[in-house]
Symmetry: C2
Subunit: 251 residues, 2 copies
Amino acid sequence: MSEFLDTAAERYHPGLSVDCVIFGFHENELKVLLLKMKHTAKWALPGGFVEKQEHMDKAAIRVLEKRTGLADIFLQQFHTFGDPARHDHEMDLELFKQSGRDPVKDHWFLQRFITVGYYALIEFSKANPRPDDISEACEWKSIDQLPAMILDHRKILEKALDTLRFQINYQPIGHKLLPVKFTMPELQKLYETILGKELDRRNFQRKMLAYGILKDLGERRKGGAHKAPYLYSFDVKKYNAALKIGLKGSW
Amino acid sequence: MSEFLDTAAERYHPGLSVDCVIFGFHENELKVLLLKMKHTAKWALPGGFVEKQEHMDKAAIRVLEKRTGLADIFLQQFHTFGDPARHDHEMDLELFKQSGRDPVKDHWFLQRFITVGYYALIEFSKANPRPDDISEACEWKSIDQLPAMILDHRKILEKALDTLRFQINYQPIGHKLLPVKFTMPELQKLYETILGKELDRRNFQRKMLAYGILKDLGERRKGGAHKAPYLYSFDVKKYNAALKIGLKGSW
DNA sequence: AAATTAATGTGTGATATTGACGCAATGTAA
DNA sequence: TTACATTGCGTCAATATCACACATTAATTT
C-alpha cells in the first residue's frame, strides 16, 4: 500500500477510478463478485485506477481479469458517478494512517474521485475469484443477500442492475451468464431473477423458441428428481443478429 | 484564455470535462446546439470543466444554462469517453500558443482528458444561444446536416442520438422538446425524426391517444394550407407515470 | 414392480396489439 | 365553387399476449 501511494501520482490518471459489477448466475441466483476489505467489515466492488495513457475500458478489463482469471470478458460501461460526497474522506485518511504515514496535503490519493461503472457478465463456473492486496476475500454474493458495502458501492450496484434490466432485450444475457448447455427452466430462472418477477413457464418457452435463437440439442439433463428437461444451446449467430434489433416483447 | 490557463489547475478537477449534446426540435427537424470555434473551421459541443468539489451533474447544468439562458433543463448522462487518443494533443498545443505562451510540460490543460457526455432536451423557441469565450458562434444545426466537428465530438453526438433512440419509451421526449401546445402531426414528426423512419399517421395517433397521456385542447391550429389539426398538451402527471414503466410498444 | 410425485412438453381459446389500409371532413388556394 | 392536400375516424386481418388444461416423464416411494 505504501509503495502504491508513492508511485500512484505518476502512474495513474488523477481523481479517476473504475469499478466493476461482475454478474454471475449459480444455483438459480444472480450473484455479484465482491471483495471483503481489510480493516473493516465492509465489502467493495472490484475496482482500480486508470493508467495515464490507458484506455478507460482497458483499465476495467485489467481489473476484471485480475479478479476472475478470465480473458475476453463481456463488459459494458453503464454510468459515471461524480458526486463529490461519494468519497469518504475520513476513510481515506484512515487507510493512509494504516500504511504508516502521515496524510500529506493534496496527495493524489486524498483528492476527490470520479468513478466509472462497468458491469460484466461471466460464466460462473469458469471464474476463479482472487482477492487483491487490500482485500482479504473475494466471493460471490447473491444480489438479494448483499453485505454492507463501502462508499456508494451499493448504489453503483443497484444502478448496474437497473441497467441490466433495462437492456435485457439488447444484451446477450443468457449466452454470457449460462454454460454452453442449459435447460429452458434455467434460462427462465435467469430472466426471472433479473426482472425480479415470475413468468409463465409455457409462455416463456413459446416466446423463446419463436425467436429462433436456440438450438435444441436433443439431449436431456438427467439426474433431477423429475422429468428430464431438454438441453439447449444458443445459435450465437442468430442470437447476435436478433439482439441488434432487440428481442421484441415486453416481459 | 491565458488567465484561464493560469487558474485552471487550482479550480478544476484534473483531466475531466463534460460535454453536452443539446437537442431541440424546430421546423420538423431535430437539431443540436453547436459552437463554432475560433481559429478553426470546426464546430464543438458545448462543454466545460468540473470544479474541484462540484457535483459533475452540476457542472453540466452550469454549461447548459450558460449556453442557452435556460434554467431547469432536462439532462441525462449517457456515456463517458475514455480513449486516450480522443484528445488531439497538437490542437491543445496550438491553443496554448495562441494564448501567447510557451507550452509548459505537464500543464493541467495538456494532460489527457476524460469527458462525460450529457444530453439535454429543451424547447427550441425558449433558448437563447450564446457563444462563449473560445467560440465565435452558437447555432442550431440539423442532425442530418452536421458540420465538421473537433476531436471525437461527432462520435459523442452519435452516441447521444443512439441513446435517445434507445430510451424513447422511457424519456419525456415530447414534453421537453415540443411547446406546450402541439399537434399530432408535429408529435409524429418528432418521433419519426428520432427513430429515423416513417410511421403510419393513423396508427401513430391511435397508439398515442391510447396511452392516455394527452389532453385534447379542443382548439385547432389555423393558418396551415390545409385542414386544421387539433392542438394537444401533455397530461404531465399521467405522462410521467406512464414513462416510469415505459410506453409499451415497438416503433 | 407399480404407484406417486413434481416437474416438463405440448396445446388451446379469449383478448389485446399491430400493421395496412379506406373514406369522409376541412381549410386554403386556384 | 372547385380542386387538393391534409386531417379525423374507422375497419379488418394478422400477430402477439395472457391465462389456463392436459399429457408425459424420471426419480422416489410404497
